[in-house]
């Protein structure tokens, strides 16, 4: 993996100038490389990781992981039905898995009802969906590699040889 990606994956806010300095490359070169990654779809977006547990209005927010068993279709396998499912804006993530079920999707909604309505009305009623199992998410510990518990202050002594 290019070191540009290693740095950006940790901190997307870093400017091309700073990135160039860190990696001892030219800013133009770095900009070009980043553009290239974006074009190829290797970099698909830049976003902020929010710890929703600390938000005041967190009461209006629930997530659920849903296991979905589907019937694969001729020629297109799972892709077509996956596309129909992940196109719903409520679906935040969608993966095809090996094992006892096929698709794992992450749903976000304002309440248990919105999520269960979505499952009952939109998801389970889809033609090739055979079965769904919904797991409501109780607590997030780590998100995209970031531990959500606030770090304790560094206890290192401030000066040493």
């Amino acid at each position: 993996m290019d070191e540009i990606l290693e740095v950006l994956e940790k901190d997307a806010r870093i400017s091309p100038q700073e990135l160039a300095r860190l990696l001892r490359r030219q800013p133009e070169q770095v900009k070009k490389a980043v553009k290239g990654f974006e074009k190829q779809g290797i970099i698909v977006g830049y976003k902020t990781i929010i710890n929703r547990e600390l938000l005041q209005d967190n009461n209006n927010f629930v997530s659920a992981l849903i296991e979905v068993r589907v019937t694969p279709q001729k020629d297109v396998g799972f892709d077509k039905i996956a596309e129909r499912i992940y196109s719903f804006p409520e679906v935040k993530s969608c993966y095809l898995l090996s094992g006892t079920y096929d698709l794992l999707i992450l749903i976000e909604g304002r309440s248990i009802h919105t999520v269960s309505d979505f499952v009952a009305e939109k998801l389970a009623s889809l033609e090739h969906v055979r079965r769904t199992t919904t797991h409501f998410l109780l607590k997030r510990y780590k998100e995209d590699g970031v531990i959500l518990k606030r770090k304790r202050e560094n206890k290192r002594i401030a000066i040493s040889y």
């Binding site: 740095v7 870093i14 300095r21 860190l22 001892r24 401030a158 040493s160 040889y161």
Partner: protein
Amino acid sequence: MKKSLSKTVQELQPSGIREFFDLVLGMKDVISLGVGEPDFTTPWVIREAGIYALEQGFTSYTSNKGLYKLRLGISRYLNSRFNLKYNPEEEILITTGVSEAMDLALRAVVNPGDEVIIPLPCYVAYGPLTILAGGLPRYIKTQLRQGFKLKPEDLERAITKRTKAVILNYPGNPTGVSYTNKELADFKRIILKHKILCITDEIYGDLSYDFAHIPFASLSGAGQFSLYLNGFSKAYAMTGWRIGYACGCKDVISAMTKIHQYTMLCAPIMSQLAAYEALVSGKKAMDEMKREYQRRREYVYEELKRIGFEMVKPQGAFYFFISTKNTGLAGLNFARKLLKEQNVAVVPGDAFGSDYKDFVRLSYCADLDKLKEAIARIEKFLRRKQ
């Protein structure tokens, strides 16, 4: 009370900057570029092994030399990485950090009045440890304009009939300067000619950025004149675990073990088990940290250059040793004022040799956001001063 203290201890140079250290420790919200240890916490795989060791009840002594499996692991690692061959039975000793290893080494080889050559600027402990072992430190100054590198002719000139050993620390604290194969070969020629021991502190060896690190002991023919010291503290961010090791000829290692068994007995067993895990599965985390240091080095170097500091671009470790001459302030004053006015801590150069009053050591063991803020504050400090 003073009468009851040993003369040797009384005569040890008190650290002139102790007072400055106390000042730093008494302040809050300091951005510290004054630390000599990684800002990273020990990688989880290693910590987990330490916890598991405690859970399993590993709370006893180990053999004086250290756990055999750790010695074997070190022997294999050195063989595969540097083609260095040490028998884990009698040529490797596990110590509580390289600090202890250095102390043992000097006490094992120095007779009263023997000289030990120490290039400056250097880590604070070498001189005092030499004196405590009954030896006389023979310092060689190196200059900024020569890249803080020891010149072979200066080494040869410093050797007398009483010279027992030379201490080489590369990549070095406080300069980050390291030596290439060719430079080491020049030292080897002199060391072999005069038959003195070369004690190398290679604790920063894994943190070499510009060229491959080469242990002095791996040069052909250097084996019996070398004592290789290394440990886990810096590269694996394991300073608090206190695990180092010494590798060398059977005679020296066995002499060191004799002292070690009476003074330290053994290194903590849970730390030894964690260190073993570092060898087995810590490489990925270590490489990641190394790349991070390397990026910070590039960043800080360009910034310090832009501000107008004179320095050598370090080839390893995580320090810059920068001249404060252009600021019109001596190092200690620079450090004191920077701390008071901008809450940024650096270490005055005097700590690493009395001739380095116009320097400060700045370590980049802080994340990039902190480094940026610290550099902005240093700039502000210099602008206000004008």
